[in-house]
């Protein structure tokens, strides 16, 4: 028998549904004309650099089919890099190369692919296979994050990233997504990655969830999520809030990674951030979004919004992390 929750319960818990997100938050707060900046990762990068927001280094852009033949020369001397579609969505089409051996490339999962496979993947990106609406696209090659070793134990074969939902410039909810063996090194929760809810006030973990159930330890590395405390949390919040100002979107998700040398960096922005963050935090978004609305109305200043958010959204640690 499939167990369902009643809509009344979900409403009481303040869970945001897909329709509510689309109409009330995305439709009402994100003007269409500002999507371009977010959906196009090259534009995001340029805008971020202009505002001196840290981003991974861009190695090159491939915008024509004929450039694919010469792409290996372009990558001469680079052994770790990421190829992604400029207008991709939902993490589709991102190829992570962690090491190379001549013309053989090693993916984050350890699988070895040939230069031929690399070219085919790039060609697919240009044809728009992974892109919104299937239109023609460009491929961008950027530096692989050398991620902070403090977080290494929380991720298996992939870069852990931090998603912060920002509503009208107020950071509302955050989670860290940790790749697992089942998620094939990808940080997508529906593919089996672990989502760790993060306290907005402190950067400490609140709860960890894999495939909808609470977990305490990483299934592959065995690391305990309870002791997770994100470094540079202040900078992360500041960066996320700046992204809201930069993009002109009222409701967005900022994906941030922690680099060993350069600290928090903006990976990409998302105008339609998913709902799984509620499961990772074991809390609904709706109540927080209402409070954020009031904060945004009363505090026009960037720092004041972050301060008020930390005050209002503090969650005492430890309550939810033990399985019931």
């Amino acid at each position: 028998m499939i167990r369902l929750v009643s809509p009344a319960t979900l409403r009481r818990l303040g869970i945001l549904g897909m329709n509510g997100r689309n109409i009330t938050y995305i439709g009402g707060n994100n003007p269409r004309r500002n999507y371009q900046l977010v959906d196009n990762k090259l534009l995001t990068k340029q805008a971020a650099i202009e505002r001196s927001i840290a981003v991974p280094e861009l190695y090159g852009v491939i915008d024509h089919q004929f450039q694919i033949d010469g792409m290996l020369e372009q990558l001469e001397g680079r052994s770790a890099f990421v190829i992604k579609p400029v207008q991709g969505s939902g993490g589709k089409g991102i190829l992570v190369i962690t090491a190379r051996d001549g013309d053989r490339f090693i993916k984050s999962s350890g699988a070895v692919i040939s230069a031929h496979d690399l070219r085919r993947h790039t060609s697919n990106i240009l044809a728009g296979l992974h892109s919104l609406g299937g239109r023609n696209d460009f491929a961008m090659i950027e530096a692989l994050i050398d991620f902070n070793p403090a977080l290494a134990e929380y991720s298996y074969e992939g870069v852990p990233d931090i998603r912060v939902i920002v509503f009208r410039g107020v950071p509302v909810m955050a989670m860290m997504r940790c790749a697992t063996h089942t998620s094939d090194g990808k940080a997508n929760l529906h593919q089996g990655a672990v989502g760790v809810g993060i306290d907005i006030a402190t950067g400490r973990s609140i709860a960890a969830v894999q495939k909808g159930s609470l977990v305490t330890h990483h299934p592959d590395t065995g690391a305990c999520f309870k002791s997770l405390h994100l470094p540079d949390w202040e900078i992360i919040l500041d960066l996320a809030a700046s992204c809201a100002e930069m993009s002109g979107l009222g409701y967005l998700g900022a994906d941030i990674v922690l680099d060993r040398q350069r600290g928090p960096m903006l990976l990409e922005l998302n105008a339609r951030p998913g709902l799984a963050i509620q499961v990772a935090n074991q809390e609904g978004l709706v109540h927080r979004l209402r409070i954020a609305e009031e904060i945004a109305a009363s505090a026009p200043d960037h720092d004041a919004r972050i301060r008020l958010a930390k005050e209002h959204f503090h969650v005492p640690q430890g309550a939810a992390i033990a399985p019931p």
Binding site: L4, I15, N19, G20, Q191, G212
Partner: protein, 507 residues
């Protein structure tokens, strides 16, 4: 935000009320039944006369059908722009005549009738006229004599004679004399039969008419044989030998003589487009009473030409299918591969029937996926690869049709109704999905699409739905209103009640 909600609410409310109001008006004032009750099979027959003009004045005469065998004609309509037009009463029936002084371009004239068979009547009596024996070459005459003598020997009267004659002339290997006659006559077998009957002194003539097939576009006249056995006239089908008036035969002209005469033109052709509608009995009766100016007929789909009516029959069902997709995606939250792909699949199911359709779809997609996995080694550009898949799908369809036809499974021939390009894209998307997210996601989305397609098919094949959309197209305005409302639904999807089920345990 609130303002936009109210606006949508008002617009949607107005649309819903408008559609329902118009429907109520039609039901109450015009007496159109809301539910498909007892119905009549009303046929719309559109005759198309096309010809190329030669020099001089043009005159076209078309013998108009008499309503025989219990048929009732509800409406007649002529299209004759630029032509003088008149209807002549003649002893043999009414004749429509179009005339014009000069004409330069190939032209098409239309004559449309609507009718239904109210009773299964016999044909009225007709005076017997002796037909003159045919003029024949000596060798034909000898063959005819032998054939008639042989048939007389084996028959007991005019009727068995005719049956045996039809059998003798239509069997795959006719006898020597029959074969000789068929070979030397430069006419149809029916003409040979008429001459044999005349030679034997049996009164006979042809009855020309149309074989009624729903949706046929270019039907031509066919003929029956009518033979007098001394007491009554009896009809025979010259192809099968069956006696009596076939149910699907609409009599156009009884007796010999031309149906169409074109003077001042050449290459003239007479073709018929046919469409059958199941109309409520009450409507048919009121159409019969006021067949000249029937308001309902003039302001409904029925006023359109036959071909368009047939197309609209299908098109008017599309919004219902779209509504199913809207409900399944917004209220239930089923993921499908491609937003409206399920509708196209459901339309194909309407033609193929459900189980055959499902079988064909699954076969095509799974074989397509298998071949596509091989294509992915070739490292092709996307557009070329999808085009290659399109061709593969077409070849698969041809192979499926051929193999099943040879095996005697005719149903699989309906494979042609599947939208090729959509299938190719489905295969392409699923194959990418497989590579990126694994087989489970493919099953989820593929299964979701199929489920929605089957539901849309089931809804579209409800006879009430077809009746309502075709007879009350204004209900689609109401449907539009409902869809606008659903588009503003901010509540939870059914799938979310499952997705967030574990959240209840929190804090």
């Amino acid at each position: 935000m609130i303002a936009s909600r109210t606006k949508v609410g008002l617009v949607a409310g107005a649309l819903i009320l408008f559609g329902l109001g118009l429907t109520a008006y039609k039901v109450i004032s015009l007496d159109l039944p809301l539910w498909p009750g007892e119905s009549r099979e009303v046929w719309t027959i559109e005759s198309k006369i096309s010809f190329k003009p030669t020099d001089g004045p043009v005159e076209v005469e078309l013998q108009m059908p008499q309503a025989l065998g219990g048929w009732v004609l509800l409406e007649e309509h002529f299209a004759s722009s630029g032509f003088g037009f008149s209807v002549l009463e003649q002893p043999s029936g009414k004749i429509a005549r179009w005339s014009r002084q000069t004409l330069e371009y190939p032209t098409t004239l239309y004559y449309k009738i609507q009718g239904y068979r109210a009773h299964q009547d016999d044909l009225p009596d007709l005076p017997v006229t002796e037909s003159a024996p045919p003029l024949l070459e000596p060798d034909q005459d000898a063959a005819m004599e032998r054939l008639v003598a042989d048939l007389r020997e084996r028959s007991s009267g005019a009727l068995t004679f005719t049956s045996l004659l039809i059998q003798a002339l239509t069997q795959p290997e006719p006898g020597q004399d029959a074969e000789f006659l068929l070979g030397t006559y430069r006419q149809t077998p029916v003409q040979v039969m008429l001459d044999v009957l005349a030679y034997a002194g049996i009164p006979a003539h042809t009855v020309r008419g149309i074989r009624l097939q729903d949706g046929r576009r270019r039907q031509t006249l066919s003929a029956l044989l009518e033979v007098h056995d001394g007491e009554d006239w009896q009809l025979f089908d010259p192809e099968t030998g069956a006696s009596g008036l076939p149910d699907d035969f609409f009599i156009w002209q009884r007796g010999d003589g031309a149906v169409l005469r074109v003077m001042g033109g050449r290459d003239s052709r007479l073709e018929f487009a046919l469409l059958s509608n199941s109309l409520p009995a009450k409507t048919v009766v009121s159409m019969e009473q006021r067949s000249d100016d029937f308001a309902l007929l003039n302001f409904s789909i029925y006023a359109l030409p036959v071909e368009q009516q047939g197309i609209f029959k299908g098109i008017l069902l599309l919004p219902v299918a779209a509504f199913v997709v809207v409900l399944m995606r917004i209220l239930v939250g089923i993921r499908t591969s491609g937003t409206f792909m399920p509708i196209l699949i459901a339309l194909a199911f309407l033609q193929t029937t459900l189980w055959v359709g499902l079988g064909i779809f699954l076969t095509l997609v799974s074989v397509g996926l298998w071949i596509r996995s091989w294509l992915s080694y070739l490292n092709l550009l996307l557009v070329a690869r999808v085009s290659a898949v399109v061709i593969v799908v077409i070849l698969l369809m041809a192979a499926l049709a051929l193999v099943s036809y040879k095996l005697g499974v005719d149903q699989a021939l309906t494979v042609t109704f599947f939208p090729t390009v959509i299938l190719a894209w489905t295969i392409e998307r699923m194959s990418i999905l497989w590579e990126e997210e694994g087989g489970r996601e493919v099953l989820m989305q593929g299964g979701g699409s199929l489920l929605v397609a089957v539901l849309a098919y089931l809804v579209m094949s409800i006879s009430v739905v077809e009746h309502l959309t075709f007879n009350f197209p204004e209900l689609l305005v109401s449907l539009l209103g409902v869809i606008l409302l659903v588009g503003k639904y901010t509540g939870y999807r059914l799938s979310e009640l499952y997705r967030f089920r574990n959240m209840v345990n929190m804090k």
